[in-house]
């Protein structure tokens, strides 16, 4: 248990540094899609929500079911909506000149 937490903390620290490196390179033009795209990634909490909802029935009454299902609903909105809206935005950023040259 303890070693696994330490290992996860280790992953956390590395991931934060990686995040800093990755994001510093994004041009300000793309900041909005970056935000909504990373927002969709934070919907990864859906993994926890699915586990909660899938095991809920057999755990602790209707509250478990309600909490799990609500978690799945919100996380799904976050994931589906986030990725689709990001795609919609990115579709608009075009290089017209370079396309004509091709």
């Amino acid at each position: 248990m303890e070693t696994s937490v330490i290992l996860l903390l280790f992953i956390l620290v590395l991931a934060i540094f990686l995040g800093f490196e990755l994001i510093s390179k994004v041009p300000s033009t793309l900041h909005t899609p970056l935000m909504s795209g990373s927002n969709a990634i934070s919907g990864i909490t859906i993994v926890g929500a699915l586990t909660a909802a899938g095991a809920a029935q057999y755990v602790n009454g209707w509250e478990s079911i309600a909490l799990g299902t609500l978690a799945v609903i919100f996380a799904t909105i976050n994931v589906v909506g986030g990725y689709l809206v990001t795609d919609r935005m990115l579709k608009m950023f075009k290089h017209h000149k370079s396309q004509q040259e091709k």
Binding site: A15, F17, G19, T29, L30, S38, G43, V47, T51, V85
Partner: protein
Amino acid sequence: MDMKLWVNLAYIIAAIAFIFGLKMLSSARTARRGNLISALGMLLAIIVTLLQKDIISYEWIILGVVVGGIIGASSARLVAMTAMPQMVAVFNGFGGIASLLVGWSEYHNYLGIISWGALLPIYLAVIIGGITFTGSLVAYGKLSGRITGRPILFSGQRLVNALFLLLIIVAGVFYIGKLEPQYTYWIFFSALGLSLLIGVMAVIPIGGADMPVVIALLNSYSGLAACAAGFVILNNVLIVAGALVGASGIILTKIMCKAMNRSLANVLFSGFGAVKAKQDSSQQQGEAKPISIEDCYYILEAAQSVIIAPGYGMAVAQAQHVVRELGDLLTANGAEVRYAIHPVAGRMPGHMNVLLAEANVDYDQLSTPDDVNPTMDAVDVCVVIGANDVVNPAARDDENSPIYGMPIIDVDRARSVIVLKRSMAAGFAGIDNLLFFADNTRMLFGDAKSSVAGLVAEFKSVN
């Protein structure tokens, strides 16, 4: 072979997909594919999670995914580009509350049998998720105009906030200290309630033009909440993804603060823009010189190089399409046209870029202040559309100005400047803009959309 191992390998692949997705966002050419890769990573993580044996029944999952999927997909499809800031805020808030609910449900399901090592991340997931949720909802209200965009301040605000923070820490100590389960549940509820309150209190004192900072910060919180949820269920992909988002939000916050030359603390607590800054009457120099659309046309018609500097006013007037049309006509007329976009123009990071991209402006024409400022002296005309503080020369020249030191677009150094503006009202910072009184500035009063449309009509009537 052990299922657990395969699942974890799949999570690693998902994490790699997120990392590549973000990396590919650094160029407009690869960004869309990057987003797709990131989405596929998410799909993979979801599928392998569903295959695990901890999941016993699917009916509630299906209900949740269908309901959430329909709401998410339809709102993503229907939202207008001008409403994008509030949309991003809402999605962000939903991510926050999802993490809150994951923490809560874990707490509820294993009441009384969890060790303190598990209680701490639950607590963090719940309070960070709660703050993200209500904070994002308030931001949504402000951005959509349902709540006033001005800072809401009252006396003793900081004291109240400090008290809330203290209470939430005390609650945390008691909660982790584990009294009898029936008491801890009440402490848990008070902490949850407090976190929702703190979210509201944290965002109400922040004014509309500082929203880019707040949105970026809340974005970071939603990542941290997911990260905490990852420690709750001891899952590495949540931790990696959450940390990436948390880091991304923090970097964006930093960039936004730097673009305004203010500290994060100043943005969050000062209530900037609430009171009109005291005006020094001696500062008033000359008077603004209005110009007609026709005269404006003659100036633009003769220009060889034009810079268009949009601000929040362009978004309000929804003028991006006519602006692009004007830009195209100017290009056809032989002028070099660039759009100079300040990082904090608008209500979220990159707001103006999204609007202009929607209007089909070429990506290569979208420039930053750093791109255009060095060559500003050679620019014939700068057209300022609904921007104010980000083109205020006081930020460069007047040490007493509240916005002194903020990097601006040096439009005043162009040969002539045309400012499209509704009235002489001050901008968000509540300070006068000497640009409007400069010798080379002409003011084109009126609604930005109809003014630009008038210019477009002039161009078309001649050709």
